[in-house]
């Protein structure tokens, strides 16, 4: 364990990446250059720390080394050599061993990584890399793509920022709501990528969800007055509390109704509920807090039967107003049916069915089939379930639907 410099450098990088890169961007005014310099400093650390020992303040060491590299580069091509030389003189004195506040700089970095000029894919990769301190290899592993593909993605993202001359500052107040919304959706996208994985090793995907949680906890530290940041954290804590029960010993998905609730992580449920309470204390519930509240209703129920479905129906109605989407309506239909009103649920689903966007999706027929079974219309219900099975690309889901159709009581 000790003397294991490579792992120590990696651990230091995980802790310090955001602060080091943020400080360097302020210094060189360019994300691409700042990140390259930081990487070079990491290479130096790998070379020097085994001989010289690990510095007292490794983050400050990395920053100072990277700054010196920047100055050397400028010196080689700049007439301002004397001024930079003077700056270089003082560099060693500016390395202090205090824990400085990092909020503002890290927040600026988050806004840069989630900048609107970037594609969603680039925002995700840059956020995990610059703010989360993950290496390209780690990112490639988490997203199940070859390392060169991920490298390309990162390079393209940084070039886009440089080309757009993105200013490294906190956006003006009128832009805040939109910018924060995009930051939250990037983090939630990372989470759902891990939580609702349709491919890959499920354990590996849990790592990705864990990274999103870590980012979510950071956001709450950076945006303590932002109700939806707490709402998002609550949602992620509550959803990941079910991880242990969502997959059986053979790796097959286990539906909510069949999950062993004793295997939910109740410590995590408590943390999620505490976050939701903090969100509620700040503002009325919006998109993430409402979804967290729905997850909370499931989390506190002893079983599917004793779940307060009526309360969940109300929460879906509110969510439909705040963030309307056909998927929310479909979930509301499920809740209405579970609340004992399958007739009303069928009306909601049939109204949705006129929307052509559902044509290729197995979701709607699988929900409609369940509602019909509940209404005692077994033949029609089975036909819907078989249609859903036909539309499902995921082999395990297909088998589950066929099984359900075959075993529905006549």
């Amino acid at each position: 364990m000790p003397g294991d410099v490579e792992n120590t450098v990696a651990a230091v990088w995980r802790i310090e990446a955001a602060r080091v890169i943020a400080t360097l961007i302020t210094f060189v005014r360019d994300v691409d250059l700042a990140e390259d310099l930081a990487q070079e400093a990491v290479v130096d650390a790998l070379r020097q720390w085994p001989q010289q020992g690990i510095p007292q303040n490794p983050g400050a060491w990395l920053t100072a080394v990277a700054k010196r590299k920047a100055i050397d580069a400028w010196r080689r091509r700049d007439a301002l050599a004397e001024r930079y030389a003077a700056m270089a003189e003082h560099l060693d004195e500016t390395v202090d061993d205090e824990l400085e506040p990092i909020g503002d700089e890290t927040l600026r970095l988050v806004f840069v990584a989630c900048h609107p000029v970037l594609s969603r894919e680039s925002q995700v990769a840059l956020t995990l890399r610059l703010v989360g301190g993950l290496s390209t290899d780690e990112l490639a592993r988490l997203f199940l793509v070859p390392v060169p593909t991920m490298q390309q993605r990162i390079v393209r993202a940084k070039k886009s920022l440089s080309a757009a001359r993105v200013e490294f500052e906190v956006p003006p107040p009128h832009e805040w709501p939109a910018r924060i919304a995009s930051v939250l959706s990037v983090v939630y996208l990372i989470f759902t990528e891990g939580y609702a994985a349709t491919s890959g090793d499920s354990w590996m995907r849990r790592d990705l969800a864990a990274e999103a949680l870590r980012l979510g906890r950071r956001l709450v530290g950076l945006l303590p007055r932002e109700s939806e940041a707490h709402g998002l954290l609550a949602l992620m804590e509550l959803q990941s509390s079910r991880f242990g029960a969502r997959i059986d010993a053979n790796g097959n998905p286990v539906l909510l109704a069949d999950q062993d609730r004793a295997r939910w992580d109740h410590g995590q449920i408590a943390r999620g509920r505490a976050s939701l309470a903090r969100a509620d204390a700040l503002a009325s519930r919006k998109q993430y807090a409402l979804q967290a509240a729905i997850a909370e209703q499931h989390a506190i129920a002893a079983s599917v039967e004793t779940t307060d479905w009526q309360h969940i129906v109300l929460l879906y109605e509110l969510l439909g107003r705040v963030a309307p989407s056909p998927v929310v309506d479909l979930n509301r239909a499920v809740a209405v049916s579970m609340a004992g009103r399958p007739e009303a649920a069928l009306a909601i689903v049939d109204a949705l069915a006129t929307d052509s966007r559902w044509r290729a999706s197995p979701l709607l027929p699988s929900v409609r089939g369940e509602i019909l079974l509940r209404l005692g219309r077994a033949v029609e219900g089975r036909i819907e379930l078989l249609r859903a099975a036909e539309l499902t690309a995921n082999e395990r889901q297909k088998q589950a639907l066929l099984h359900r159709a075959a075993h529905s009581a006549p």
Binding site: N7, A262, A274
Partner: protein, 144 residues
């Protein structure tokens, strides 16, 4: 992501010495450290233990021997812990190194067991009950 417990232990001498320091300064230094853990999104819990004598129950003989604490030959006091959720043991060590503690204090870093450590006993009734207990404890904490 695994969880690690940072276990804080100090010699009685170190605890005595700390009484000569400005208590508010200690609170500020520790507060800044805790804030950095929160801002990095790695802290999931922690508690400090009161600086007052405890009691030790010793299992050396059939009748339990009850004495005044602390236990152990070295007279090290266990006086608090943090729970961190981090990417690796190395990361936990790096965080521990940043803790504002002085000579005579130590942090021990131990991985917290999770479900996978008891996979072979998943049908044991107590292992199954345990999550229910956690839920009860969490509810009590909610109502505090």
């Amino acid at each position: 992501m695994p969880k690690y417990m940072l276990i804080m232990r100090s010699t009685a001498a170190a605890v005595e010495a700390s009484k000569n320091l400005d208590f508010e300064e200690i609170i500020n230094a520790m507060g800044a450290y805790n804030e950095s853990l929160m801002q990095a999104g790695v802290m999931v819990g922690g508690e400090g233990l009161a600086d007052e004598p405890g009691v030790v129950v010793d299992f050396s003989t059939d009748d339990r021997i009850v004495t005044d604490g602390p236990y152990g030959e070295t007279h090290e006091l266990f006086n608090g812990f943090w729970m961190l959720e981090v990417s690796s043991q190395h990361e936990a060590v790096e965080w521990a190194k940043r803790c504002p503690l002085g000579p005579g204090s130590k942090l021990e870093i131990r991985r917290v067991t999770d479900e996978s450590d008891f996979a072979d006993f998943s049908d044991n009734e107590f292992i199954q009950k345990e999550e229910g207990w956690r839920e009860e404890i969490a509810k009590k904490a909610d109502n505090r």
